[in-house]
Symmetry: C2
């Protein structure tokens, strides 16, 4: 590879990268534009040029969930990859207009839609293998937009024995670490994860892992009982009371106490999992708002367990992700973690909705620049590696 990709030329000037992310919430595409460069001290710098969430097609979530949960013809998946890619293309064009991006985009970084993620091994052809699947047709995107596309970020780490997640810690380490105090970067998306960066740590001894759910269960319950996509500002949760028996049931799971590295996903918090909770709710006459309130507390509680068990006291918590807007999650979190200073990522000048899209833009920039991006301390991989593939245009 040494002489295949022009890493030196790539790193010689600032590069404009467009990061594209669709998470487990399946409702929108995040698009972020940023210019990355190597600073005078050899450190990395970026300038955020703009970014937003763009609603996906009304049938997107249903289509993706059918692929995830049901047996489907392979042609559905084949078509989905290309159709989703066209939605991405539309969103990028809209965003480029909205943020008046006039310069050439040097590369697009597309995470792809995770349809399966299984760091645990499965058997096929007498082989025991972990596997992960992020749908996107990068060739289609790069050909239509005439811009190189970097994609498939998780498979290499999985191939090296890692969990393929979390990958955001390299971004956290480079842009959120603090020389003066320990920092915990907490992202509350569909799933929640933290990166714990003690002051003066290298990228080899930080701790990063998925703490468990973010909004995923709350959103499922909101859809079922309120026909809404999420609990805006946590208002429903605020109107309800905690159901202790349900919380106990939710917390009765080895995952939360298991030592990192570890990762989880939509596979764990599946329709089957959710149905068990719904059965419990109905059998125990738990009201809709108490159900939401308890799921909300559960999110905060699992984050707090993770922070109490696997980080040291007093670290500053920097919160990003859609869940930071759920006031009840944040309220519960502050209550559970009185020793920590909980701040929103905006307080340090970053857009908390765009962090993941930005982070994958950064990872693509690093990969073309010849740098590793997985951190074995976070993923459990045997070694560091460059991540992703680049499609020609």
């Amino acid at each position: 590879m040494a002489d295949l990709i022009n890493s030196k030329i790539w790193l010689s000037r600032p590069k404009l990268v467009c990061g594209v992310m669709t998470g487990t919430s399946l409702d929108s595409i995040d698009i972020a534009f940023a210019k990355f460069d190597v600073g005078k001290k050899g450190d990395h710098e970026f300038k955020f040029l703009g970014g937003n969430e763009y609603k996906l097609h009304p049938k997107y979530a249903k289509t993706a969930l059918k692929l995830i949960n049901k047996n489907t013809p392979i042609s559905d998946f084949s078509l989905f990859q290309v159709a989703y890619t066209h939605l991405i293309k539309g969103a990028i064009e809209k965003a480029a207009k909205e943020f008046e991006i006039k310069e050439d985009i040097d590369a697009i970084s597309v995470h792809g839609q995770t349809l399966w993620h299984q760091p645990d091994k499965d058997e096929m052809f007498d082989l025991q293998l972990p596997h992960t699947l992020q749908a996107v047709s990068a060739s289609t995107l790069s050909t239509l937009l005439e811009i190189p596309v970097v994609f498939d970020f998780r498979a290499a780490d999985i191939a090296l024995g890692g969990n393929g997640a979390p990958l955001i810690p390299i971004f956290d380490y480079n842009f959120l670490k603090d020389e003066k105090e320990d920092v915990i970067c907490l992202n509350i998306g569909g799933i929640s994860n933290i990166t714990y960066i003690p002051k003066n740590s290298s990228d080899e001894n930080l701790v990063a892992f998925d703490t468990g759910v973010g909004n995923i269960l709350i959103d499922s319950a909101m859809l079922k009982y309120y026909r809404k996509k999420y609990d805006k500002d946590g208002k429903i949760a605020k109107s309800g009371k905690l159901d202790k028996a349900l919380l106990e049931l939710l917390l009765d799971d080895e995952y939360y106490k298991q030592a990192p590295p570890k990762s989880t996903g939509r596979e764990k918090y599946s329709d089957t999992y959710f149905k068990k909770l719904v059965d419990f709710k109905e059998n125990n006459d738990i009201s809709d708002e108490d159900f939401i309130a308890t799921l909300t507390r559960f999110t905060a509680k699992t984050i707090a367990i993770a922070i109490n068990m696997f980080t040291k006291n007093n670290a500053k918590i920097i919160v990003s992700g859609g869940g930071r807007k759920n006031k009840e999650i944040i309220f519960a979190l502050k209550k559970e973690l009185p020793q920590n200073n909980v701040v929103m990522i905006e307080s340090i000048g970053l857009n908390g909705d765009m962090k993941e899209a930005l982070a994958f833009a950064y990872i693509a920039w690093r990969s073309i620049g010849g740098m590793y991006s997985n951190l074995p301390a976070a993923t459990g991989a045997f070694r560091k590696t460059r991540l992703g593939a680049v499609s020609f245009n």
Copy 2:
């Protein structure tokens, strides 16, 4: 892309590329090693270093056919991509040993297993889109072998309105064209295709398309009635007689007369298609050997129709692909095309089993070298484009 891939450096020295192909026959992996270089006149040269077919796992065909024909969980596909990639890895390692490849391999070109190919449009998210799916986890392969992997060759052409096939014509044009006579490169694999290169033609006015079946129906019938994978040397066909009514039924299909560009695949000659033939056979008391003989004649007949309708008289036919070993196909072909000189590709010094693997190795070499590889005259695409993506290592 201009300064992303070091095309000039790539083309400045001979490059050793390993081509990996698994076709519609689903029984083996073709591995070919070749060194490509730019010749003194700016033409392209290659030296074949060795190659062979390596049997796939006994459960491979069944697993792939289940994915192609049945509704399956997405996790089966996700696992298949990685498991198939490990089979490729094993075959490459075996081949490198067998052919004593001691030098560094500069790139691996992996076609991937086609599980779906649909140049016709399908609807999703209010979009009408063609799509194609070649399974492989290139990131896994490049990471484990520490060699760049080029893959996903068909999607770009499909995105540009092409059939995504055939792609071999660029290889035919560069290495099989003849200044003195018109040439037809015929490959008989699961599907059959031809590239017609009139002498003195440019790569913009050649004609190339899938003629229809190759071995696919013969192989299905051999499995069903003889429990064998194929009709060795065409012996069963030779022992049977042509059933005219069945041949008529088979030929009653607009595809064969449709003007190129056009392509077809396993989707067309599906289980459903085959079952109709079996029903006809049983209802009309056609013997097993007559069934095989008729399917064999059908293959030759469709190739002859294509050549008679869409090429000019007297072109030399150079035959490659596994079907060239079926003596009855070749015998019938010579009978149907008395005006053409039919020669095996070996007569011009090439290994006929390795042509596709070699061709994709060449396409990968071209893509890294900054060259297009699809020919709009062959695929019907709006324009030429580089093909494929390259995974980092």
